[in-house]
Structures are given as structure tokens and as C-alpha cells.
Amino acid sequence: MRISLFITCYNDTLFPEIGIAVVRVLERLGHTIDFPYAQTCCGQMHYNTGYQPEALPLVRRFVEVFRDSEVVCVPSSSCVTMMREHYEKIALASGDRSLQSEVAALLPRVYEFTEMLVHRLGVEDVGAVYPHRVTYHSSCHSLRNLHLGDVPIRLLRNVRGLELIPMEAGDLCCGFGGTFSIKNSAVSGAMLEEKLQYIKKTQAEVCTACDNSCLMHIGGALHRQRANMRTEHIATILASDSDSRVPSNGAR
């Protein structure tokens, strides 16, 4: 299948290795990756911060770039949430009929990365090898908006060598919340501190998730505290195989 990749603005800029990992997993499964260069951002930051009119041109842009795609893969549950929960509303508010119908036609073809593997491609074992102790952080958007349930867990269970350690209070928000992490940085930090207690308690080597935004926040604190643990996006783990060097999430 020809899969169009929407890498998301922050992964493109800050975490290119996630895109590389997604490409690697999907190509290993025999698919072709298409990356439209005109893509930028889904508009989530503008929309959720209260600048809803500023999000409209970005919605238009997304639709125009991906309207002909067979399927769109997005390695970020919060961006997919933005599309599923708000694109129709934004299109409706714009009064633009053709945008409304294009959004309606495109949305069913947009998948979060793990959701695409399990629900669209029917794959639970991607042939990955990752001999590490890993705990999974279910981000709020993957849990309560996309209802991914145990989809990421099923993928992780099939990774050779991976020891999956369950986390207590798995549905507790890590405190990132987009611009919340800046506007309410003290409260965000306090929430993170509580979450970190549960994360550290697992004594895993790696904390993974479907969202690099949460992981940037969690990983940033783990690094600050010189904790003996790092974060990796789930795509990185699923891309690791015996004959590849594990693409690593930066310096440590």
C-alpha cells in the first residue's frame, strides 16, 4: 500500500528519528511511503490555545496536501485527536461546503501510527527486537480521545526481548497539555512530579508512548534529574531489529 506520512510539525523539527522509524517499520512490512513536502502543522496549537480562526488555513492546507492519499499515517495521537474532534467543526464554522465534504472524505483515512498497524494493516508483530525493560505511558489523547486501548500494548508484547512493565495510575495525565506546560508551568511541573513517581517506580529502562509531546516533557525531567531512565517513542522501539542500531532519542 502507498502510505502518506504526516510527520507533524514538532516531530519533523525536533524528532526526525521518529519519522525515520515509521518509514522503516512500514517499509519492512512492504509498504511504500509518500511524504508530501508541502505539509506543515495540523493547527492543534492554535486551536487549543484559543486562536481558532488561525487554525483554519492550516486545516485547509492539510486537506489539500492529503486529499488524494490512500491512507495517512500520523505518529502522534494528539494531532489525530485534533483532526477527528475538531476538523469537522472548523470546516462547518468556515461555511465552506467543499471543505466540509473534503474533511468528511479524508478523516476516515487518517490513522495514528499504532492504530494503523493494528486496525488498518492487521499487524501486531512487526518483527522488532528490543531487549530492554519498557513501561508504556498511555497519553490522554490516545486513551480518552482515540480510545487506542491495548493497541500499543499488543504491539509491544510482540517485540522480541522486550520486557513490558505495567505502570500504576496509567490513566493519570503527565501534565504536558501543550501551551499549558508554559502558561501553567508550575502546576504542569507538579503534575509531572507525581507522574514521575509512578514512572520511576516501574524501574524500567525506557518509558514509551504514542506521543512525543508527553515524552519531551517526561524525558526532559528525567534528564534534568539525571534519572536512570530515558524515553523513546513507540515507533523507535518497533523499528528496532536485530541487524539495526537502535535509533536513539538523542544524547544522554
Binding site: 510527520i7 516531530n11 519533523d12 523539527t13 525536533l14 526526525p16 528519528e17 521518529i18 519519522g19 525515520i20 513536502y37 508541502a38 505539509q39 506543515t40 502543522c41 496549537m45 492554535h46 487549543n48 490555545t49 484559543g50 486562536y51 481558532q52 488561525e54 488555513p57 492550516l58 485547509r60 492546507r61 489539500e64 496536501v65 474532534e85 490522554c140 480518552r144 480521545n145 490513566d171 495525565c173 501534565g175 497539555g177 501543550g178 499549558f180 506546560s181 508554559i182 502558561k183 501553567n184 508551568s185 508550575a186 502546576v187 504542569s188 511541573g189 507538579a190 503534575m191 509531572l192 512530579e193 507525581e194 526532559g220 525531567a221 534528564h223 534534568r224 532519542n249 538523542g250 544524547a251
Partner: protein
């Protein structure tokens, strides 16, 4: 009587949420109390909700009942007035807090200089106690938690458990001091007994009681209050006169709707299958209970809330407090950071709307949008959606002259400009890579950033932008030319 501010629910002098949160986050005792108390209520709620196979259907029924009642609010309110009046009650209409307080003060004047009160967030909203005091009438709170708040000259921090921020030992100290009981123990029984003795005298000697209401039943003209302690039952039966103050949103169409509501409310609020005391009364009955009954129907901007179709379901709220207990933000700061009698997620959407978006603008931002509130709300209020919508109203409501220059607006416009063209976007990535250089430490990470971004690095390091963006990697893999393609730009730019 001295004038009482009409919108007492959001103190105009109160600082914004991030500022108000700072000292609270430093208060280890407070945060322990919060974590402990919300944890217990959450656990109890989860157990009794978990045993209901039809919980989701009940929530939907609750949502429909509330939506229907508000759609025909005018009709149901008039029906309520007719039926209540026919049963011997007196119905008063109050446009705002000041009017409601004035009505209550006039009615309570013939009392013995004091009134007994059942816990009521609505009278907290109107600042009734201060109005009563100004008229020389002392209000005596009879709900245990409200009593604690009142004796400590404190403010409620939770809509169901107003003294949630205090623990047993702190309550013991307060009672020992204010009730002059130096030998008081700190077991729950000791504290309850002290309160009981203190209150019993008040119940028997006060001819006027003031209450709120959980539900107003249009069909019968009846009023419903649920509670756990029995103090409410005392107030509703012993005094000669009963005055209830209720927001107009409290209406439900039929008596039978209680079937749904009284399953949803106690399970969500206190984790009980049923409240120990459920009172429903209709007007007055000779020889039984208060012989004079007044109900004050309060608007106080509720009709303004109804005007906004994107946010009106805020009024569906049945004040169960479940969203507060589950909220990871509330659980860190407690209720006082919200500067309003309505705290937590419901407060973050209700308070600014009741203040006509003139105050409380920081409250819609006091959320990580995690969605836990929506998940537990017994009437399915989509709080995250309303938060986002109200953020939009905060932005568009900024004074015209300032809005374009607001620093956040400038950043957002710049970001939109960058995202509106992929060449600009990759240019910005390259600029970022250069600009960050002075900030990268030897560890390879950014540990301190200037100005607003410094709020990130206060608690977290940041990995710098890598040497190559994804689009550059992908391009390098497929093409020989070093220039990123632009031909694929959509035409509308």
C-alpha cells in the same frame, strides 16, 4: 444593608490562576490532604459506578433530561411557579446576586437575629452570608464541612466537600479553639459529636432556615435536597420558615426524572449508592414542617450562559464534584487557586461565563485538556471542548487596541505564517538550529532558556533541534538535489 457585589463568585481582586497556584503548590500539608481526600472519594466512586451495568445509558439519560429542561426552561420554570404556589409556597425571582440577597434578608428579618443554613453553593455564589451579617443576622452553617469553613473564616474549596483541604487534626484544632473544647479528640466520632452538640442548640432555637436545592421539579412544584449528615433534614423540618435559593438551571421536568438523577448524583458525588437523606417537599403542609416556604429563583447570568450554544451545556451540571476529584490540576492546587466558589473543571468553565468573561480569563487555561473530567461527568458535559471554546472567547474578547499586540497573539500569528508555507517552515527550522546554539550545554541538552521559554526549563531540560529535520532526511534519501521541492505547495497560498 451595605451593598453586596453582584458577582461575588469571582473575587475581582483575586490573582490569575497560575499566580494563585504558586503558594498552594508550596503547601505540602494542603497537597497531602488533597491527594488523600480526592483519592478516597475517587476510589469509592469507581467502585459504585463500576457495579452499574447501565452507567453509560444513565449518563445519556441524565444528559437528555438536562438538555430538554434547559431547552424549554421558560415553560418549566413557570410550571414550577404555578405548582409551588398552588401548594402554598411563595416564589420569588432574582435577576442577580444582590436581588436574591435582598429578598432573603427581608424575609429573614423577623428571625431571632440568626438563621440556620444547609450547605448551598448557590448562596456562596451570591455571598448571602455577608449580606445577612450586614443586616445583623448571623448565619449558622449546619453542614459539617461548611461549619469548618465558617468557624475558620475560610473559603470553600470543593463543591461537595467545602473543607476538603483540611485534615482531621486541623479540624480538631479548629473545634477545640472555637468551641472551647481543649480535651477534644481527633477521631471522626469525636469531631462529629462536638459538631452535633454545637448544632443541636441552634436547630432547636432558630425559627428560620436557608437552603439551596439540588433539583426543582416542574411537574409538582417540589424541591429536592440530598445530603449525608441529616443536618439538612433538621433545617427542613424544625424551623417555622424555610427559604430556599436555587439557580434556574436546577429545574427538571418530571418527578420521575429523579429516578435517573438520584442514581447519578450520589454515586458521582460521594461514592454512595444512595444518599442517607433524600428530602423532597412541595409547598407547605399544615401541622408538618415549616409553615412558611419561600423559594428564590436566581438567574445571575445563567440566561447569558444559555445564549452560547457551544457552552450552554455547562448548566447541565448537577454539582457532584466528580470532575474536581479526578482533575489532575485540581488535585495539585485545590480549590482556592480558582478564586471562585466553583473550582476545578466545572469552575474553570462556569466561573468565567457567570462573570461574562470579564474575570476569570485564566481559568479556561487551567487545564491540560486531559479529558478525565468528561469521562466521569454524570451528565456528560464535554468540559474539554467547552474549555477550548472559552479560550477562543478569551482571545476574541481582548480589548481591540491590545489584541493585535498581545505577545501570545503575535507568536501565534507568526507561527501561522510560518506553517502556511513549507519553504518558510524549513527555513524556520534552520534558523532555530542556529539560534539555539548559545543555549546548548555540554550535556548536549538545553538546560536554561530566556523569558517565557524559561518556564519550560525550570523543571525540564530540552533536547535541541537536531542537525537534520525529517523532511531533509527524507529528501536526501530520495533526491540528489539539495534543495527541498516546492512545486507541491497547495495553490491557495
Amino acid at each position: 444593608m451595605s451593598p453586596v457585589p453582584a458577582h461575588d463568585f469571582k473575587d475581582s481582586r483575586s490573582p490569575d490562576f497560575p499566580t494563585a497556584a504558586l503558594p498552594l503548590l508550596q503547601d505540602a500539608q494542603l497537597r497531602n490532604n488533597l491527594r488523600h481526600a480526592t483519592g478516597i472519594i475517587q476510589g469509592k466512586r469507581a467502585r459504585v459506578v463500576g457495579e452499574m451495568p447501565d452507567w453509560q445509558a444513565l449518563r445519556e439519560a441524565g444528559q437528555r433530561i438536562r438538555a430538554h429542561a434547559h431547552e424549554y426552561l421558560d415553560l418549566y420554570l413557570e410550571q414550577f411557579e404555578d405548582r409551588c404556589t398552588a401548594a402554598g409556597g411563595h416564589v420569588h425571582w432574582a435577576r442577580d446576586a444582590a436581588e436574591a440577597n435582598l429578598i432573603v434578608v427581608q424575609l429573614a428579618k423577623h428571625s431571632t437575629g440568626k438563621v440556620i443554613k444547609i450547605k448551598s453553593m448557590t448562596t456562596e455564589e451570591t455571598g448571602l452570608n455577608r449580606a445577612l451579617e450586614a443586616a445583623g443576622i448571623s448565619p449558622v452553617e449546619t453542614d459539617l464541612a461548611e461549619l469548618i469553613v465558617q468557624l475558620g473564616h475560610d473559603k470553600p474549596s470543593h463543591i461537595v466537600v467545602p473543607a476538603l483541604h483540611k485534615n482531621r487534626r486541623q479540624v480538631r484544632e479548629l473545634f477545640a479553639r472555637t468551641m472551647n473544647l481543649p480535651d477534644l479528640g481527633d477521631r471522626p466520632e469525636d469531631l462529629a459529636e462536638a459538631a452535633r452538640l454545637h448544632l443541636r442548640r441552634q436547630f432547636l432555637s432558630t425559627p428560620v432556615a436557608i437552603s439551596g436545592a439540588n433539583f426543582l421539579i416542574a411537574e409538582t412544584g417540589g424541591v429536592c435536597i440530598v445530603e449525608s449528615e441529616g443536618n439538612g433534614r433538621m433545617c427542613l423540618t424544625l424551623p417555622r420558615t424555610l427559604i430556599s435559593v436555587a439557580g434556574i438551571d436546577k429545574i427538571i421536568p418530571r418527578f420521575q426524572d429523579l429516578e435517573v438523577m438520584l442514581q447519578l448524583l450520589p454515586r458521582s458525588a460521594t461514592g454512595e449508592r444512595m444518599n442517607p437523606y433524600n428530602s423532597v417537599w412541595t409547598g407547605v403542609h399544615p401541622g408538618d414542617g415549616p409553615q412558611e416556604f419561600h423559594i428564590v429563583l436566581l438567574d445571575n447570568r445563567r440566561t447569558e450562559v444559555l445564549r452560547d450554544p457551544e457552552a450552554r451545556e455547562t448548566l447541565h451540571c448537577i454539582r457532584c464534584g466528580a470532575c474536581q476529584n479526578t482533575c489532575p490540576v485540581y488535585r495539585q492546587t485545590g480549590g482556592h487557586a480558582y478564586g471562585s466558589v466553583y473550582a476545578g473543571p466545572i469552575g474553570a468553565i462556569l466561573t468565567p461565563q457567570l462573570a461574562m468573561m470579564e474575570r476569570g480569563q485564566s481559568l479556561p487555561y487551567a487545564s491540560s485538556l486531559c479529558g478525565a473530567c468528561y469521562e466521569v461527568c454524570p451528565v456528560k458535559i464535554n468540559i474539554p471542548e467547552i474549555l477550548i471554546h472559552l479560550r477562543g472567547r478569551v482571545v476574541t474578547g481582548r480589548p481591540k487596541a491590545l489584541s493585535a499586540l498581545h505577545p501570545e497573539a503575535v507568536v501565534m500569528r507568526a507561527m501561522r505564517w510560518i506553517f502556511s508555507n513549507s519553504t518558510r517552515f524549513s527555513m524556520a527550522q534552520r534558523v532555530g538550529r542556529i539560534a539555539q546554539r548559545p543555549w546548548i550545554r555540554r550535556s548536549g541538552w538545553i538546560e536554561r532558556l530566556p523569558s517565557v521559554l524559561g518556564r519550560w526549563t525550570r523543571t525540564r531540560d530540552l533536547r535541541p533541534l537536531p542537525a537534520q529535520s525529517f523532511r531533509e532526511w527524507f529528501h536526501g534519501r530520495h533526491e540528489s538535489s539539495a534543495v527541498l521541492p516546492q512545486s507541491s505547495e497547495p495553490h491557495h497560498e
